[in-house]
């Protein structure tokens, strides 16, 4: 695009961000402060992810952008367009084709490879922020690996509800050292982070933090031995591709309790449909009463 550098950011800024990324990769799960720039998109729309993507993007990369797992949500479209305009790179919706995937709130269903990078948009990089509002203090807690308070939170959930009641942005320990916010992905996606072959980069623009998980790094969701981490998905099959193990969106189809469950990962769903898988295409009626309903999909990590 005229008047702007490749991928919008000037080279000095990209170098600064790459230095932060290198540090982040060297200390997995540690939040590295960086000189986040004001972007032409609002804070909260993925300014951190965009800056990280812009800094690692090369002219021969193929970029995929998803929001809520879908390539066609407005914000994903807007960010993909931004890079198509400012960097002129190839874009794709095909997870397999992509060399860089920027995401908000999901990890693709397809297992990622060593030659891929996934960039997460992060609204709140501090996993301890609900327990301690001062960032000066949480920094100290990370430095001293004082994470007892986070386990107290899980303890309280089990005491009150009989189970951990965190559904998304479920805290993880990275490399056995740093407590990390995985960004607001559903807990369903947490196990995918563990020993992932792809490089995982996290950008929080407004909070001015970058962090990373190098390939093949241990990522454990916090739990107790007698209350192991478990994931939840809607106990249904995708109405379009019949998948029974993907994360599902619930679509309300009428005002009488009708709803339909479809894959949140649109590329995964379309690929399956093209391969001949087909769902019922039908909406479900109101959930059957308790007792007869299928039990929640308590998948082990």
């Amino acid at each position: 695009m005229n008047g702007y550098n490749f991928a919008y950011l000037d080279e000095q800024t990209k170098r600064m961000i790459r230095r932060a990324l290198l540090k982040a990769v060297a200390i997995p799960g540690h939040q590295v402060p960086f000189g986040s720039r004001e972007m032409p998109l609002p804070y909260g729309w993925g300014t951190g992810g965009i800056q990280v993507t812009a800094s690692v993007l090369g002219a021969d990369d193929t970029l995929k952008v998803i929001d809520q797992g879908a390539d066609d949500t407005t914000n994903a479209v807007s960010i993909r367009r931004f890079f198509a305009r400012t960097a002129g790179v190839a874009t794709t919706t095909d997870t397999e084709q992509a060399t860089i995937i920027q995401t908000r709130h999901r990890i693709p269903e397809k297992k990622l490879r060593e030659d891929q990078i996934i960039v997460y948009q992060v609204p709140q990089p501090e996993p301890l922020f609900k327990l301690e509002s001062s960032r000066a203090e949480t920094r100290r807690m990370h430095a001293l690996a004082e994470y007892g308070a986070m386990h107290v939170r899980l303890y309280e959930d089990i005491t009150r509800f009989g189970q951990v009641a965190i559904s998304y942005d479920y805290p993880v320990m990275v490399g056995g050292r740093f407590l990390m916010a995985p960004s607001p992905i559903p807990a369903f996606d947490n196990p995918k982070m563990h020993m992932m072959p792809a490089l995982q980069l996290f950008g929080a623009g407004r909070e001015k933090r970058i962090y990373a998980i190098p390939p093949y790094t241990e990522v454990r969701s916090l739990d107790f031995e007698d209350h192991p981490f478990r994931t939840t998905r809607a106990p249904h099959r995708c109405a379009l591709c019949n998948a029974d193990n993907s994360y599902l969106d619930e679509v309300v189809t009428d005002d009488r309790g009708g709803r339909m469950f479809v894959c949140s990962d649109t590329d995964h769903c379309e690929t399956r449909q093209e391969a001949g898988h087909a769902g019922t295409g039908e909406a479900l009626v109101r959930e059957a009463p308790v007792g007869s309903a299928a039990r929640g999909g308590g998948m082990k990590p």
Partner: protein, 258 residues
């Protein structure tokens, strides 16, 4: 009692501007011993507690601590992570106001279990069982384990703080006026509890109090402080029954008159 001290301080000095808070203070504490530091407010006794526990630095002097492997550590030269780890495991600190230590939005069981979780215990059932055991030891009903501290009385809060502190079996506990701000009858019960727990578990305690009766009931030895100076030290009964220093005599006589 072995001849190896658990905690030793030598020649501690600290001034706040021109006000002396500590002047050449020496102190020794043996395993299982309760040492009371008494004096009026402003005598430097709370400052001494903070310096001994590494929470505050002195201008001069040193504090030595012997770990369970009998290695000596210069408390003020310890890296912050090591000192914090010590405070979470082998040491404890009981504040005058339990709200300064407890998490008021976390259940009693969660409060007691926190130090276990910080130490790496990852079995919910065991943590909870241990919490219940400790609540019972401090005379709180086991069925209060899931209750919030805000529903507890002042005396119960203080006992909950003690359970939270002792759950990791520390060998050394610092106590800052642990019975201050409580009714007399509640105080008596709490003192009894502290005395029996400390004796049974063989915990060494540095106890700061302005109340000589508390010192007499709990402490083996006593240090009397005035304007940052230790004016008299010795066995509790000896010091209180036969005070040598004029200031100690004044303190003892004012208690007798009251």
């Amino acid at each position: 009692m072995t001849d190896e001290t658990l905690l030793s301080a030598r020649d501690l000095s600290l001034h706040f501007g021109k006000i002396p808070a500590l002047v050449g203070v020496d102190a020794d504490l043996w395993p299982g011993e309760v040492l009371a530091v008494v004096g009026e407010s402003g005598s430097g006794k709370t400052t001494l507690l903070n310096v001994l526990s590494g929470r505050m630095r002195a201008d001069a002097g040193a504090v030595w601590y012997r770990d369970p492997a009998r290695r000596l550590h210069d408390v003020h030269a310890m890296p912050a992570p090591a000192l914090r780890a010590l405070h979470r495991s082998d040491w404890g600190f009981v504040h005058q106001n339990p709200r300064d230590n407890l998490r008021m939005a976390v259940s009693a069981g969660g409060n007691v279990g926190e130090r276990l979780m910080a130490a790496g215990n990852r079995h919910y059932g065991n943590i909870r069982a241990e919490a219940i055991d400790w609540l019972t030891q401090v005379e709180i009903d086991a069925d209060r384990v899931d209750d919030m501290p805000r529903t507890f009385s002042g005396g119960m809060l203080q006992r909950l703080q003690i359970a939270r502190t002792l759950v990791t079996h520390p060998r050394l506990v610092f106590m800052d006026e642990p019975t201050g701000g409580l009714d007399v009858s509640v105080q008596a019960r709490l003192l009894d509890l502290i005395r029996s727990l400390v004796a049974r578990l063989n915990i060494a305690v540095v106890l700061v109090t302005h109340d000589l009766a508390v010192a007499r009931l709990l402490a083996h030895r006593i240090m009397v402080m005035q304007r940052g100076v230790v004016v008299e030290t010795g066995l509790t009964d000896q010091v209180l029954d036969d005070p040598q220093h004029a200031y100690t005599q004044l303190l003892v006589s004012s208690v007798l008159q009251a």
